[in-house]
């Protein structure tokens, strides 16, 4: 026991001196490189979409709007995010637990293989025009069976990546009896746990769709499929958000020269997110038939409860900033604001990401209330909303992480020039999104629908009145595309070109007088049981209803 602890601290020390070991670094470097390559592809498609919607670009016949929109959605909100999450979490687990176990590394590599096979299968069917069904693939639109099989590989990849982290955390706990799992790894365990819980729904759905797509079964239950999809779709974006939040709690305090606000609070945020999240899927079905108003109302409660961890986080962040600022001699009510390192991109990018979450989260709270949802559902408003949440809050935090994570992995350092480029990137992104998302919100309120290529509906006066806003959408999209290119340049520069040196993995320390973290925070079994209880509360009644009172099923259609 004694020697085990000694060995650990020795490993910790060497780890800090020598930095990350090459084997662990390779895992994360490959994941992150692929993530940013996909960002470039997805961003390019985004530009084409933006220009088309602005009425500036007519896509050639061989490049259909819905085909590229399907690719854009899958590449960015599924593939980019999963790859980044895995690269980042494995790097942090390696750092905080004294290196990955060889078992965990094997899980990471096999997860990567599975994710790649899945992505290639999906993208091939999309490129061949066999799967222009959007990332939501609502039946009875029927894609090639290989599209759905690709999704199974994606789910498998997620489970493998999660299992690797669980196995590593468990072996660390065994070697460090009585010690609490470091906060970063706690986030990683919680994040994968939630993602796996969410992926159960989509897996069940896809297993129903595969035989249907092969023609072995004739019809499919449309409502049930949709509901199972959103159990995943909703949960996934909340996992991406939790990944971003992990950096806010763990890395940012260190970057601004402060301390962790409260280790317990951060863990409670993770636990609440895991327990409460999955039933939020229903807020994507508020104006569906076949779900009663009472069930929908219950789900207003379930969705709003998800706001709770974010409210805790909002408070914690401002507390961290204020304390750090005061330590640097700030006075007055808001003096700390000026003491923040605004010229340090490692702070600026995630800070703008956080600030963006204030209107984005408020918009989410508004649109989950049933009647308000009815005014915006499936309009461009919603696209504006998630380009703020996922496109800024998540993506810009990921960019902020890249500025230190990549040089940490490649044993290089960021230069003042790269920092400056990073600041430009951040402002390009913020302003581009302000234009694009702002005009999407506005024109959505006026009625312009999402997932619709440029259309005046036969020179209809109402539709024509949307055009000026759509022009701003195009301008914003162009700025964003410039931001994507700059970001990808910075990432690969930091990976292969920047000067050699040592970059720290920022992990904030606790305040000296912090109260100890209670043991119950690590009762994962209990959190899983509670999560399942909440999922049952949300799903049993409507799903039983959808199965028992199902109409005759639908045959498949290929309408594109």
């Amino acid at each position: 026991m004694e020697t085990a602890v000694l060995k650990e601290t020795f490993m910790d020390k060497t780890n800090k001196k020598l930095g990350v070991n090459p084997e662990d670094a390779l895992v994360s470097k490959v994941y992150l490189s692929l993530a940013f390559i996909l960002l470039l592809v997805g961003g390019t498609l985004g530009l084409l979409q933006g220009l088309n919607r602005a009425g500036l670009l007519q896509l050639p016949v061989w490049l259909n709007y819905y085909q590229i929109l399907t690719a854009h959605g899958i590449l960015l909100v599924v593939a980019f995010t999963t790859l980044f999450m895995t690269g980042y979490f494995y790097a942090g687990v390696s750092h905080t637990l004294g290196g990955l176990t060889s078992k965990a590394r094997k899980f990471a590599w096999s997860a990567l293989a599975s994710l790649l096979v899945g992505t290639v299968m999906i993208m091939t069917t999309v490129v061949m025009g066999e799967a222009s069904v959007m990332y939501t693939f609502y039946p009875p639109m029927q894609a090639s069976p290989w599209f759905y099989i690709g999704l199974v590989f994606l789910a498998l990849g997620i489970w493998l990546a999660g299992t690797g982290v669980f196995v590593n955390a468990a072996s660390w706990k065994k070697a460090n009896r009585g010690q609490k799992l470091p906060l970063f790894s706690f986030f990683a365990v919680g994040g994968y746990l939630l993602l796996i819980l969410g992926s159960l729904g989509i897996t069940a759905e896809v297993l129903m769709l595969i035989p249907w797509a092969f023609g072995w079964t004739e019809t499919v239950n449309v409502m049930l499929s949709r509901t199972l999809f959103w159990a995943f779709g909703h949960t996934a974006v909340n996992v991406w958000y939790l990944v971003a939040v992990s950096a806010w709690y763990v890395a940012i305090p260190k970057i601004i020269g402060g301390k962790t606000f409260s280790d317990v609070l951060a863990r409670v945020v993770v636990i609440l997110s895991v327990i409460l999240n999955v039933p939020g899927g229903f807020h994507h079905q508020i104006i569906d038939p076949g779900i009663t108003q009472s069930v929908k109302f219950m789900h207003v409660f379930m969705s709003l409860s998800i706001a709770l961890p974010s409210l805790l986080t909002a408070f914690a962040m401002f507390a961290i900033f204020e304390r750090a600022g005061r330590k640097k001699g700030a006075t007055g009510l808001l003096g700390w604001f000026k003491k923040l390192p605004w010229k340090d991109v490692r702070f600026l990018a995630p800070m703008i990401a956080m600030i963006t979450f204030i209107p984005a989260g408020a918009g989410g709270i508004a649109q989950t209330n049933n009647q308000l949802n009815q005014t915006v559902h499936n309009s461009l408003w919603v696209v504006g909303h998630f380009h703020l949440t996922v496109g800024v809050t998540v993506a810009l935090t990921f960019f902020g992480i890249a500025y230190w994570l990549i040089p940490y992995l490649s044993k290089r350092v960021m230069t003042a020039r790269l920092n400056k480029l990073g600041l430009i990137q951040t402002w390009l992104w913020a302003i581009g999104m302000l234009f694009m998302s702002g005009s999407m919100h506005w024109v959505g309120l006026l009625g312009s629908p999402r997932r619709t290529s440029f259309s005046t509906y036969g020179d209809n006066a109402t539709a024509l009145s949307w055009d000026p806003y759509l022009m701003f959408l195009g301008i914003g999209g162009t700025l964003l595309f410039a931001g994507v290119v700059l970001m990808v340049y910075i990432v690969f520069h930091l990976m292969f070109r920047a000067p050699k040196g040592h970059t720290e993995f920022p992990i904030a320390e606790e305040e000296e007088n912090a109260s100890p973290t209670p043991k119950w925070t690590e009762r994962w079994g209990l959190w899983i049981v509670l999560a399942i209880a909440v999922i049952s509360m949300g799903y049993v009644i409507p799903i039983v209803d959808m199965i028992v009172n199902a109409p005759p099923g639908s045959p498949g259609f290929k309408t594109w």
């Binding site: 009875p140 409210l311 005014t375």
Partner: protein, 155 residues
């Protein structure tokens, strides 16, 4: 976990806002009948044409300035299209899809409902303002989705 005074105040205020929003939503749904379209009837999606209602889509007068529009949605059209009704009419749209999932939205109003194969969806709106309104499909339904539109004219 001990909390700061300021944190308690913050949580109490923000949670109160959430609760208040729920109360308003619940009141509008259950007391004022403004809940979201949630019709529970089902239909065989492959036999829409044989259905007692949907075999004859059209605009039906059901009462004093009350109308029912029985409508089918299919790629990439609404049947019936180019609807005309008098000002002040209360119109109930009764809809189903003959193929994939569609959306039914009237721009400039709060009429917005998902229309799925196998399900009959209903939504009611009173049209006080005369004019031509754009009806469009707001759920991606295939290659011609951007052309799936018609109008309702209030005279």
């Amino acid at each position: 976990m001990k909390m700061h005074r300021a944190e308690e105040i913050w949580l109490i205020i923000s949670v109160s806002v959430l609760v208040l929003s729920m109360v308003v939503t619940g009141y509008q749904t259950f007391a004022q009948g403004m809940g979201p379209p949630s019709n529970m009837e089902t239909i065989d999606p492959q036999k829409v044409d044989e259905h007692e209602l949907f075999s004859e889509p059209g605009v039906y007068k059901t009462g004093e300035n009350q109308y029912e529009v029985v409508m089918t949605l299919q790629i990439f059209s609404f049947t019936p299209g180019d609807i005309e009704i008098p000002a002040g009419a209360e119109v109930t749209f009764t809809m189903t899809s003959k193929d994939v999932v569609h959306g039914f939205q009237i721009a400039g109003t709060n009429v917005n409902a998902m229309v799925m194969p196998g399900h009959i969806q209903k939504i009611t709106e009173t049209f006080d303002e005369p004019g031509e309104y754009l009806i469009l499909c707001n759920e991606y339904c295939g290659a011609g989705h951007q052309a799936m539109a018609t109008t309702i004219t209030v005279k």
